[in-house]
Amino acid sequence: MNENNNLLVRLKDCGVQKSSKWIVKGISLEIHKGKIVTLIGPNGSGKTTTAKMALNILKSDEGSIENYSTKMAYVPQKISIDWTMPLRVIDFMNLTSHINKDEIIEALELTGVQHLIYNEIHNLSGGEFQRVLIARAIAKKPDLLVLDEPVQGVDFNGEIALYNLIKEICTKLNCGILLISHDLHFVMSATDHVICLNGHICCSGSPKSIVKNSSYIELFGEHNAATLSLYQHEHDHSHQTDGSVKN
Protein backbone atom coordinates (compact mmCIF):
# COMPACT_ATOMS: atom_id res chain seq x y z
CA MET A 1 0.00 0.00 0.00
CA ASN A 2 2.62 2.42 1.12
CA GLU A 3 4.76 1.41 -1.80
CA ASN A 4 1.95 2.26 -4.23
CA ASN A 5 1.24 5.61 -2.64
CA ASN A 6 4.77 6.66 -3.30
CA LEU A 7 4.74 5.64 -6.94
CA LEU A 8 4.76 8.61 -9.34
CA VAL A 9 5.43 7.09 -12.75
CA ARG A 10 5.71 3.56 -14.00
CA LEU A 11 6.93 2.74 -17.51
CA LYS A 12 6.40 -0.85 -18.55
CA ASP A 13 8.20 -2.10 -21.68
CA CYS A 14 7.92 1.30 -23.35
CA GLY A 15 9.55 2.38 -26.56
CA VAL A 16 9.44 5.11 -29.20
CA GLN A 17 9.57 4.47 -32.91
CA LYS A 18 10.50 7.12 -35.45
CA SER A 19 10.16 6.35 -39.19
CA SER A 20 10.13 2.61 -38.46
CA LYS A 21 13.28 2.72 -36.36
CA TRP A 22 13.19 2.23 -32.61
CA ILE A 23 14.88 5.07 -30.75
CA VAL A 24 14.44 3.28 -27.46
CA LYS A 25 12.79 -0.04 -26.78
CA GLY A 26 11.85 -2.14 -23.81
CA ILE A 27 12.15 0.60 -21.21
CA SER A 28 10.78 -0.21 -17.79
CA LEU A 29 11.31 2.06 -14.85
CA GLU A 30 9.61 3.39 -11.76
CA ILE A 31 9.99 6.74 -10.06
CA HIS A 32 9.01 7.03 -6.41
CA LYS A 33 8.62 10.02 -4.11
CA GLY A 34 11.82 11.11 -2.45
CA LYS A 35 14.02 9.03 -4.76
CA ILE A 36 16.43 10.02 -7.50
CA VAL A 37 16.52 7.88 -10.61
CA THR A 38 19.34 8.64 -13.03
CA LEU A 39 19.65 7.87 -16.70
CA ILE A 40 23.16 7.55 -18.06
CA GLY A 41 24.37 6.50 -21.47
CA PRO A 42 26.19 7.75 -24.57
CA ASN A 43 24.80 10.40 -26.95
CA GLY A 44 21.81 9.20 -28.91
CA SER A 45 21.11 6.40 -26.47
CA GLY A 46 17.56 7.59 -25.86
CA LYS A 47 17.90 9.35 -22.51
CA THR A 48 15.90 12.43 -23.47
CA THR A 49 13.32 10.30 -25.30
CA THR A 50 12.85 8.19 -22.19
CA ALA A 51 12.45 11.31 -20.05
CA LYS A 52 9.85 12.67 -22.48
CA MET A 53 7.87 9.46 -22.21
CA ALA A 54 7.85 9.77 -18.44
CA LEU A 55 6.60 13.36 -18.85
CA ASN A 56 3.81 12.40 -21.28
CA ILE A 57 5.31 14.58 -24.01
CA LEU A 58 5.96 11.57 -26.20
CA LYS A 59 3.56 8.69 -26.53
CA SER A 60 5.00 5.25 -26.13
CA ASP A 61 4.57 3.01 -29.18
CA GLU A 62 4.56 -0.13 -27.07
CA GLY A 63 4.00 -1.10 -23.47
CA SER A 64 2.19 1.12 -20.98
CA ILE A 65 2.79 4.26 -18.97
CA GLU A 66 1.10 4.89 -15.64
CA ASN A 67 1.42 8.42 -14.36
CA TYR A 68 0.23 9.23 -10.85
CA SER A 69 1.98 12.55 -10.38
CA THR A 70 -0.15 15.66 -10.15
CA LYS A 71 2.47 18.31 -10.68
CA MET A 72 5.42 17.87 -12.96
CA ALA A 73 8.27 20.24 -13.61
CA TYR A 74 10.78 19.92 -16.40
CA VAL A 75 14.23 21.31 -17.07
CA PRO A 76 14.76 20.54 -20.76
CA GLN A 77 18.15 19.89 -22.23
CA LYS A 78 18.13 22.46 -24.95
CA ILE A 79 15.94 25.50 -24.82
CA SER A 80 16.18 28.55 -26.97
CA ILE A 81 13.96 31.50 -26.19
CA ASP A 82 12.98 33.35 -29.30
CA TRP A 83 14.67 36.75 -29.32
CA THR A 84 11.49 38.29 -30.70
CA MET A 85 9.92 38.02 -27.26
CA PRO A 86 10.66 40.49 -24.47
CA LEU A 87 10.73 38.01 -21.61
CA ARG A 88 12.13 38.82 -18.18
CA VAL A 89 13.24 36.24 -15.65
CA ILE A 90 10.21 36.99 -13.49
CA ASP A 91 7.83 36.45 -16.42
CA PHE A 92 9.58 33.19 -17.18
CA MET A 93 9.23 32.00 -13.58
CA ASN A 94 5.45 32.41 -13.89
CA LEU A 95 5.27 30.64 -17.22
CA THR A 96 3.07 27.64 -16.50
CA SER A 97 1.61 28.48 -13.10
CA HIS A 98 1.32 31.53 -10.95
CA ILE A 99 3.93 31.63 -8.21
CA ASN A 100 4.02 34.43 -5.66
CA LYS A 101 6.96 36.76 -5.68
CA ASP A 102 8.52 35.70 -2.37
CA GLU A 103 8.68 32.12 -3.53
CA ILE A 104 10.19 33.20 -6.84
CA ILE A 105 12.90 35.15 -5.08
CA GLU A 106 13.52 32.28 -2.69
CA ALA A 107 13.96 29.80 -5.54
CA LEU A 108 16.25 32.16 -7.44
CA GLU A 109 18.31 32.60 -4.28
CA LEU A 110 18.74 28.85 -4.01
CA THR A 111 20.35 28.73 -7.44
CA GLY A 112 22.25 31.95 -6.90
CA VAL A 113 20.62 34.18 -9.51
CA GLN A 114 18.20 36.35 -7.47
CA HIS A 115 19.95 39.50 -8.74
CA LEU A 116 18.81 38.72 -12.29
CA ILE A 117 15.07 38.74 -11.57
CA TYR A 118 14.25 41.73 -13.79
CA ASN A 119 16.79 40.98 -16.50
CA GLU A 120 15.64 40.00 -19.95
CA ILE A 121 16.16 36.29 -20.53
CA HIS A 122 18.11 36.81 -23.72
CA ASN A 123 20.76 38.83 -21.89
CA LEU A 124 21.62 35.90 -19.61
CA SER A 125 24.62 33.67 -20.16
CA GLY A 126 24.10 29.96 -20.76
CA GLY A 127 24.98 29.06 -17.18
CA GLU A 128 22.82 31.81 -15.69
CA PHE A 129 19.87 30.70 -17.78
CA GLN A 130 20.39 27.12 -16.68
CA ARG A 131 20.21 28.28 -13.04
CA VAL A 132 16.97 30.14 -13.81
CA LEU A 133 15.54 26.99 -15.40
CA ILE A 134 16.33 24.95 -12.29
CA ALA A 135 14.94 27.68 -10.02
CA ARG A 136 11.71 27.72 -12.02
CA ALA A 137 11.29 23.98 -11.71
CA ILE A 138 11.93 24.11 -7.95
CA ALA A 139 9.57 27.05 -7.40
CA LYS A 140 6.73 25.02 -8.87
CA LYS A 141 7.12 22.58 -5.94
CA PRO A 142 6.49 19.58 -8.17
CA ASP A 143 6.04 16.01 -7.07
CA LEU A 144 7.91 14.83 -10.13
CA LEU A 145 10.96 16.72 -11.33
CA VAL A 146 12.66 15.79 -14.58
CA LEU A 147 16.10 17.25 -15.13
CA ASP A 148 17.80 16.76 -18.49
CA GLU A 149 21.49 17.56 -18.03
CA PRO A 150 20.61 20.42 -15.69
CA VAL A 151 24.09 21.78 -15.04
CA GLN A 152 25.36 22.13 -18.61
CA GLY A 153 27.27 25.38 -19.05
CA VAL A 154 27.42 26.00 -15.30
CA ASP A 155 30.83 26.81 -13.84
CA PHE A 156 32.73 24.13 -11.92
CA ASN A 157 31.90 25.27 -8.38
CA GLY A 158 28.32 25.94 -9.33
CA GLU A 159 27.98 22.45 -10.71
CA ILE A 160 28.71 20.84 -7.36
CA ALA A 161 26.47 23.30 -5.52
CA LEU A 162 23.57 22.67 -7.91
CA TYR A 163 23.91 18.92 -7.65
CA ASN A 164 23.82 19.23 -3.88
CA LEU A 165 20.78 21.46 -4.24
CA ILE A 166 19.01 18.86 -6.36
CA LYS A 167 19.68 16.22 -3.73
CA GLU A 168 18.44 18.58 -1.02
CA ILE A 169 15.27 19.48 -2.93
CA CYS A 170 14.47 15.84 -3.38
CA THR A 171 14.42 15.33 0.38
CA LYS A 172 12.81 18.66 1.23
CA LEU A 173 9.92 18.49 -1.23
CA ASN A 174 9.77 14.70 -1.04
CA CYS A 175 9.54 14.67 -4.83
CA GLY A 176 10.67 12.04 -7.26
CA ILE A 177 13.50 13.06 -9.57
CA LEU A 178 14.42 11.70 -12.95
CA LEU A 179 17.87 12.97 -13.76
CA ILE A 180 19.91 12.73 -16.92
CA SER A 181 23.53 13.37 -16.20
CA HIS A 182 27.01 12.74 -17.49
CA ASP A 183 28.56 13.39 -14.12
CA LEU A 184 29.25 9.85 -12.99
CA HIS A 185 30.64 10.93 -9.64
CA PHE A 186 27.39 12.59 -8.65
CA VAL A 187 25.33 9.80 -10.16
CA MET A 188 27.16 7.18 -8.18
CA SER A 189 27.29 9.07 -4.91
CA ALA A 190 23.90 10.70 -4.66
CA THR A 191 21.28 8.78 -6.60
CA ASP A 192 19.13 5.86 -5.55
CA HIS A 193 18.70 4.03 -8.81
CA VAL A 194 20.80 4.15 -11.96
CA ILE A 195 19.66 3.13 -15.41
CA CYS A 196 22.24 2.60 -18.08
CA LEU A 197 20.77 3.24 -21.53
CA ASN A 198 21.89 2.45 -25.03
CA GLY A 199 18.68 2.19 -27.04
CA HIS A 200 17.57 -0.32 -24.43
CA ILE A 201 18.29 -0.75 -20.76
CA CYS A 202 21.79 -2.19 -20.58
CA CYS A 203 21.72 -2.56 -16.86
CA SER A 204 20.07 -0.94 -13.91
CA GLY A 205 20.20 -1.04 -10.16
CA SER A 206 21.70 0.74 -7.22
CA PRO A 207 24.88 2.71 -7.95
CA LYS A 208 26.89 0.12 -6.05
CA SER A 209 25.67 -2.77 -8.09
CA ILE A 210 25.88 -0.83 -11.35
CA VAL A 211 29.57 -0.09 -11.24
CA LYS A 212 30.27 -3.77 -11.00
CA ASN A 213 28.12 -4.55 -14.00
CA SER A 214 29.97 -5.53 -17.14
CA SER A 215 27.62 -3.65 -19.50
CA TYR A 216 28.31 -0.48 -17.60
CA ILE A 217 32.03 -1.00 -17.89
CA GLU A 218 31.73 -1.66 -21.58
CA LEU A 219 29.58 1.44 -22.12
CA PHE A 220 31.74 3.88 -20.24
CA GLY A 221 35.16 2.39 -20.75
CA GLU A 222 37.33 0.72 -18.19
CA HIS A 223 39.04 3.87 -17.07
CA ASN A 224 35.87 5.70 -16.06
CA ALA A 225 34.38 2.63 -14.57
CA ALA A 226 37.53 1.88 -12.62
CA THR A 227 37.45 5.22 -10.89
CA LEU A 228 34.20 4.14 -9.34
CA SER A 229 34.71 0.47 -8.94
CA LEU A 230 37.47 -1.97 -8.20
CA TYR A 231 35.65 -4.80 -9.81
CA GLN A 232 35.52 -6.03 -13.34
CA HIS A 233 33.32 -8.76 -14.69
CA GLU A 234 32.86 -10.71 -17.88
CA HIS A 235 30.64 -9.03 -20.51
CA ASP A 236 27.30 -10.71 -20.85
CA HIS A 237 26.43 -9.02 -24.15
CA SER A 238 27.98 -6.66 -26.65
CA HIS A 239 26.55 -3.91 -28.85
CA GLN A 240 26.16 -3.30 -32.52
CA THR A 241 26.75 0.23 -33.76
CA ASP A 242 23.10 1.18 -33.33
CA GLY A 243 23.11 0.04 -29.75
CA SER A 244 21.16 -3.15 -30.23
CA VAL A 245 22.45 -6.33 -28.66
CA LYS A 246 24.67 -8.59 -30.75
CA ASN A 247 23.65 -12.19 -30.58
Binding site: K52, L55, N56, I57, K71, M72, A73, Y74, P76, I79, I81, D82, T84, M85, P86, L87, R88, D91, F92, L95, T96, S97, E120, K140, V146
Partner: protein, 268 residues
Amino acid sequence: MFDEFFIRALVAGVGIAIVAGPLGCLVIWRRLSYFGDTLSHSALLGVTLAYSFSLNIAFSVFVISAVVALLLVSLQKKTKLAGDSLLGLLAHSTLAIGLVLIGFLSYIRFDLMGLLFGDILAVTTADIGLVWIGGSIILIILYFIWKSLFSATVNYDLSAAEGMRPEVSNFIFTLLLAGVIALSIKMIGALLITGLLLIPAAIARNISNSPRQMIVIAILSGILSVVVGLFASLEINTSSGPSIIVVALLLFIISLVPLEIKGQLQKR
Protein backbone atom coordinates in the same frame (compact mmCIF):
# COMPACT_ATOMS: atom_id res chain seq x y z
CA MET B 1 -19.10 66.61 -38.91
CA PHE B 2 -18.10 63.42 -40.70
CA ASP B 3 -20.07 61.27 -43.02
CA GLU B 4 -21.69 58.28 -41.43
CA PHE B 5 -19.72 55.77 -43.48
CA PHE B 6 -16.54 57.24 -42.09
CA ILE B 7 -17.68 56.89 -38.48
CA ARG B 8 -18.66 53.29 -39.23
CA ALA B 9 -15.20 52.59 -40.65
CA LEU B 10 -13.55 54.18 -37.61
CA VAL B 11 -15.54 52.13 -35.14
CA ALA B 12 -14.94 48.89 -37.03
CA GLY B 13 -11.26 49.70 -37.57
CA VAL B 14 -10.58 50.38 -33.91
CA GLY B 15 -12.23 47.06 -33.04
CA ILE B 16 -9.99 45.24 -35.49
CA ALA B 17 -6.88 46.95 -34.11
CA ILE B 18 -7.72 45.82 -30.57
CA VAL B 19 -8.04 42.18 -31.64
CA ALA B 20 -5.02 42.33 -33.95
CA GLY B 21 -2.71 43.57 -31.15
CA PRO B 22 -2.35 40.41 -29.04
CA LEU B 23 -2.67 38.07 -32.02
CA GLY B 24 0.00 40.06 -33.87
CA CYS B 25 2.37 39.71 -30.91
CA LEU B 26 1.89 35.94 -30.99
CA VAL B 27 2.47 35.93 -34.75
CA ILE B 28 5.79 37.72 -34.22
CA TRP B 29 6.88 35.57 -31.29
CA ARG B 30 6.06 32.37 -33.10
CA ARG B 31 7.53 33.57 -36.42
CA LEU B 32 4.24 32.98 -38.17
CA SER B 33 4.17 36.06 -40.40
CA TYR B 34 4.25 33.99 -43.55
CA PHE B 35 1.54 31.76 -42.15
CA GLY B 36 -0.64 34.84 -41.66
CA ASP B 37 0.10 35.82 -45.23
CA THR B 38 -1.00 32.43 -46.49
CA LEU B 39 -4.26 32.61 -44.59
CA SER B 40 -5.02 36.08 -45.90
CA HIS B 41 -4.19 35.13 -49.50
CA SER B 42 -6.61 32.27 -49.22
CA ALA B 43 -9.16 34.76 -47.90
CA LEU B 44 -9.68 35.97 -51.46
CA LEU B 45 -10.87 32.51 -52.38
CA GLY B 46 -13.23 32.73 -49.42
CA VAL B 47 -14.66 35.99 -50.73
CA THR B 48 -15.27 34.66 -54.23
CA LEU B 49 -16.96 31.58 -52.83
CA ALA B 50 -19.13 33.84 -50.69
CA TYR B 51 -20.27 35.70 -53.81
CA SER B 52 -20.80 32.50 -55.79
CA PHE B 53 -23.02 30.88 -53.20
CA SER B 54 -24.27 34.14 -51.64
CA LEU B 55 -22.82 33.37 -48.22
CA ASN B 56 -21.71 35.77 -45.53
CA ILE B 57 -18.21 36.96 -46.50
CA ALA B 58 -16.68 36.79 -43.04
CA PHE B 59 -18.05 33.29 -42.50
CA SER B 60 -16.81 31.96 -45.80
CA VAL B 61 -13.36 33.56 -45.35
CA PHE B 62 -13.12 32.04 -41.90
CA VAL B 63 -14.00 28.56 -43.18
CA ILE B 64 -11.54 28.70 -46.08
CA SER B 65 -8.72 30.03 -43.87
CA ALA B 66 -9.35 27.29 -41.33
CA VAL B 67 -9.39 24.62 -44.04
CA VAL B 68 -6.12 25.94 -45.46
CA ALA B 69 -4.55 25.86 -41.99
CA LEU B 70 -5.63 22.25 -41.47
CA LEU B 71 -4.40 21.36 -44.95
CA LEU B 72 -1.02 22.79 -44.05
CA VAL B 73 -0.75 20.65 -40.93
CA SER B 74 -1.63 17.46 -42.79
CA LEU B 75 0.74 18.30 -45.68
CA GLN B 76 3.54 18.92 -43.18
CA LYS B 77 3.07 15.42 -41.86
CA LYS B 78 2.80 13.77 -45.28
CA THR B 79 5.45 15.51 -47.39
CA LYS B 80 9.10 16.19 -46.86
CA LEU B 81 8.80 19.83 -47.91
CA ALA B 82 9.74 22.53 -45.43
CA GLY B 83 7.03 24.64 -43.83
CA ASP B 84 7.83 27.78 -45.84
CA SER B 85 7.59 25.92 -49.18
CA LEU B 86 4.21 24.48 -48.23
CA LEU B 87 3.00 27.91 -47.12
CA GLY B 88 4.08 29.39 -50.45
CA LEU B 89 2.35 26.59 -52.30
CA LEU B 90 -0.91 27.07 -50.43
CA ALA B 91 -0.79 30.88 -50.49
CA HIS B 92 -0.32 31.22 -54.21
CA SER B 93 -2.53 28.35 -55.29
CA THR B 94 -5.48 29.55 -53.20
CA LEU B 95 -4.92 33.12 -54.43
CA ALA B 96 -4.81 31.85 -58.02
CA ILE B 97 -7.95 29.75 -57.60
CA GLY B 98 -9.68 32.77 -56.10
CA LEU B 99 -8.68 34.98 -59.05
CA VAL B 100 -9.73 32.34 -61.59
CA LEU B 101 -13.12 32.04 -59.94
CA ILE B 102 -13.54 35.82 -60.08
CA GLY B 103 -13.12 35.51 -63.83
CA PHE B 104 -16.12 33.16 -63.95
CA LEU B 105 -18.21 35.53 -61.90
CA SER B 106 -18.25 38.24 -64.57
CA TYR B 107 -22.00 38.67 -64.15
CA ILE B 108 -21.45 40.18 -60.70
CA ARG B 109 -20.12 43.70 -60.37
CA PHE B 110 -16.85 43.04 -58.66
CA ASP B 111 -14.58 45.48 -56.94
CA LEU B 112 -11.28 43.60 -57.07
CA MET B 113 -9.29 46.57 -55.79
CA GLY B 114 -11.59 46.73 -52.79
CA LEU B 115 -11.07 43.08 -52.03
CA LEU B 116 -7.31 43.26 -52.28
CA PHE B 117 -6.75 46.60 -50.56
CA GLY B 118 -9.84 47.27 -48.47
CA ASP B 119 -12.68 49.71 -48.89
CA ILE B 120 -14.07 51.84 -46.09
CA LEU B 121 -17.20 52.59 -48.07
CA ALA B 122 -18.06 48.92 -47.82
CA VAL B 123 -18.31 48.87 -44.02
CA THR B 124 -21.93 48.53 -42.95
CA THR B 125 -23.55 48.73 -39.53
CA ALA B 126 -23.82 44.95 -39.59
CA ASP B 127 -20.07 44.78 -40.14
CA ILE B 128 -19.48 46.84 -37.01
CA GLY B 129 -21.55 44.38 -35.02
CA LEU B 130 -19.63 41.49 -36.57
CA VAL B 131 -16.25 43.05 -35.76
CA TRP B 132 -17.09 43.87 -32.15
CA ILE B 133 -18.96 40.67 -31.32
CA GLY B 134 -16.57 38.44 -33.25
CA GLY B 135 -13.62 40.35 -31.84
CA SER B 136 -14.88 39.97 -28.28
CA ILE B 137 -15.31 36.23 -28.77
CA ILE B 138 -11.76 35.96 -30.13
CA LEU B 139 -10.34 37.91 -27.17
CA ILE B 140 -12.29 35.91 -24.61
CA ILE B 141 -11.09 32.61 -26.06
CA LEU B 142 -7.56 34.01 -26.23
CA TYR B 143 -7.79 34.97 -22.56
CA PHE B 144 -8.67 31.43 -21.55
CA ILE B 145 -5.96 29.71 -23.58
CA TRP B 146 -3.34 32.41 -22.96
CA LYS B 147 -1.19 30.63 -20.38
CA SER B 148 -1.01 27.49 -22.45
CA LEU B 149 -0.41 29.37 -25.70
CA PHE B 150 2.21 31.64 -24.20
CA SER B 151 4.14 28.86 -22.47
CA ALA B 152 4.09 26.81 -25.68
CA THR B 153 5.45 29.84 -27.53
CA VAL B 154 8.39 29.97 -25.13
CA ASN B 155 9.01 26.24 -25.17
CA TYR B 156 6.69 23.53 -26.43
CA ASP B 157 8.15 20.62 -24.46
CA LEU B 158 8.14 22.54 -21.22
CA SER B 159 4.52 23.48 -21.74
CA ALA B 160 3.52 19.91 -22.62
CA ALA B 161 5.43 18.42 -19.68
CA GLU B 162 3.77 20.72 -17.21
CA GLY B 163 0.25 19.87 -18.28
CA MET B 164 -0.60 22.91 -20.40
CA ARG B 165 -1.94 20.90 -23.37
CA PRO B 166 -0.21 23.07 -26.00
CA GLU B 167 -1.49 20.97 -28.93
CA VAL B 168 -5.04 22.07 -28.14
CA SER B 169 -4.22 25.75 -27.71
CA ASN B 170 -2.08 25.77 -30.88
CA PHE B 171 -5.04 24.47 -32.85
CA ILE B 172 -7.40 27.03 -31.36
CA PHE B 173 -4.89 29.80 -32.04
CA THR B 174 -4.92 28.90 -35.74
CA LEU B 175 -8.69 29.26 -35.79
CA LEU B 176 -8.48 32.62 -34.01
CA LEU B 177 -6.02 33.84 -36.63
CA ALA B 178 -8.43 32.75 -39.35
CA GLY B 179 -11.11 34.61 -37.42
CA VAL B 180 -9.30 37.94 -37.26
CA ILE B 181 -8.56 37.74 -40.97
CA ALA B 182 -12.23 37.13 -41.68
CA LEU B 183 -13.17 40.18 -39.61
CA SER B 184 -10.71 42.55 -41.22
CA ILE B 185 -10.80 41.58 -44.89
CA LYS B 186 -13.38 44.22 -45.91
CA MET B 187 -11.50 47.10 -44.41
CA ILE B 188 -7.85 46.15 -44.89
CA GLY B 189 -8.06 43.86 -47.91
CA ALA B 190 -6.65 40.40 -48.50
CA LEU B 191 -3.13 41.50 -49.40
CA LEU B 192 -2.47 43.74 -46.41
CA ILE B 193 -4.05 42.04 -43.40
CA THR B 194 -0.77 40.54 -42.21
CA GLY B 195 0.60 44.08 -42.15
CA LEU B 196 -1.97 45.12 -39.57
CA LEU B 197 -1.11 42.05 -37.49
CA LEU B 198 2.64 42.46 -37.75
CA ILE B 199 3.57 46.12 -37.85
CA PRO B 200 1.89 47.30 -34.61
CA ALA B 201 3.43 44.31 -32.80
CA ALA B 202 6.81 45.14 -34.34
CA ILE B 203 6.49 48.75 -33.15
CA ALA B 204 5.66 47.42 -29.68
CA ARG B 205 8.68 45.11 -29.66
CA ASN B 206 10.98 48.10 -30.21
CA ILE B 207 9.81 49.96 -27.13
CA SER B 208 8.67 47.36 -24.59
CA ASN B 209 10.40 45.02 -22.19
CA SER B 210 7.71 42.63 -21.04
CA PRO B 211 5.13 40.57 -22.92
CA ARG B 212 2.19 42.43 -21.38
CA GLN B 213 3.64 45.82 -22.24
CA MET B 214 4.23 44.66 -25.79
CA ILE B 215 0.58 43.65 -26.20
CA VAL B 216 -0.73 46.96 -24.82
CA ILE B 217 1.55 49.01 -27.05
CA ALA B 218 0.65 46.85 -30.06
CA ILE B 219 -3.04 47.57 -29.48
CA LEU B 220 -2.46 51.31 -29.02
CA SER B 221 -0.28 51.69 -32.09
CA GLY B 222 -2.79 49.60 -34.06
CA ILE B 223 -5.58 51.97 -33.06
CA LEU B 224 -3.47 55.01 -33.90
CA SER B 225 -2.61 53.57 -37.32
CA VAL B 226 -6.26 52.86 -38.08
CA VAL B 227 -7.50 56.30 -36.98
CA VAL B 228 -4.80 58.33 -38.73
CA GLY B 229 -4.85 56.02 -41.76
CA LEU B 230 -8.60 56.39 -42.20
CA PHE B 231 -8.42 60.18 -41.93
CA ALA B 232 -5.69 60.24 -44.54
CA SER B 233 -7.68 57.88 -46.72
CA LEU B 234 -10.62 60.29 -46.54
CA GLU B 235 -8.57 63.45 -47.10
CA ILE B 236 -6.43 62.30 -50.01
CA ASN B 237 -8.87 59.72 -51.37
CA THR B 238 -6.71 56.58 -51.15
CA SER B 239 -7.65 52.98 -50.38
CA SER B 240 -8.14 52.42 -46.66
CA GLY B 241 -5.90 49.35 -46.25
CA PRO B 242 -2.71 50.83 -47.74
CA SER B 243 -3.25 54.14 -45.91
CA ILE B 244 -3.48 52.36 -42.55
CA ILE B 245 -0.39 50.25 -43.25
CA VAL B 246 1.64 53.28 -44.40
CA VAL B 247 0.78 55.09 -41.16
CA ALA B 248 1.79 51.98 -39.20
CA LEU B 249 5.10 51.95 -41.06
CA LEU B 250 5.69 55.61 -40.17
CA LEU B 251 5.02 54.76 -36.50
CA PHE B 252 7.46 51.89 -36.78
CA ILE B 253 10.16 54.26 -38.05
CA ILE B 254 9.45 56.63 -35.15
CA SER B 255 9.66 53.69 -32.71
CA LEU B 256 13.23 53.12 -33.88
CA VAL B 257 14.27 56.48 -32.41
CA PRO B 258 14.30 55.39 -28.73
CA LEU B 259 16.33 52.31 -29.72
CA GLU B 260 18.82 54.55 -31.49
CA ILE B 261 19.11 56.89 -28.49
CA LYS B 262 19.57 53.94 -26.13
CA GLY B 263 22.31 52.58 -28.40
CA GLN B 264 24.08 55.94 -28.48
CA LEU B 265 23.88 56.25 -24.69
CA GLN B 266 25.36 52.81 -24.21
CA LYS B 267 28.29 53.67 -26.48
CA ARG B 268 29.31 56.58 -24.30
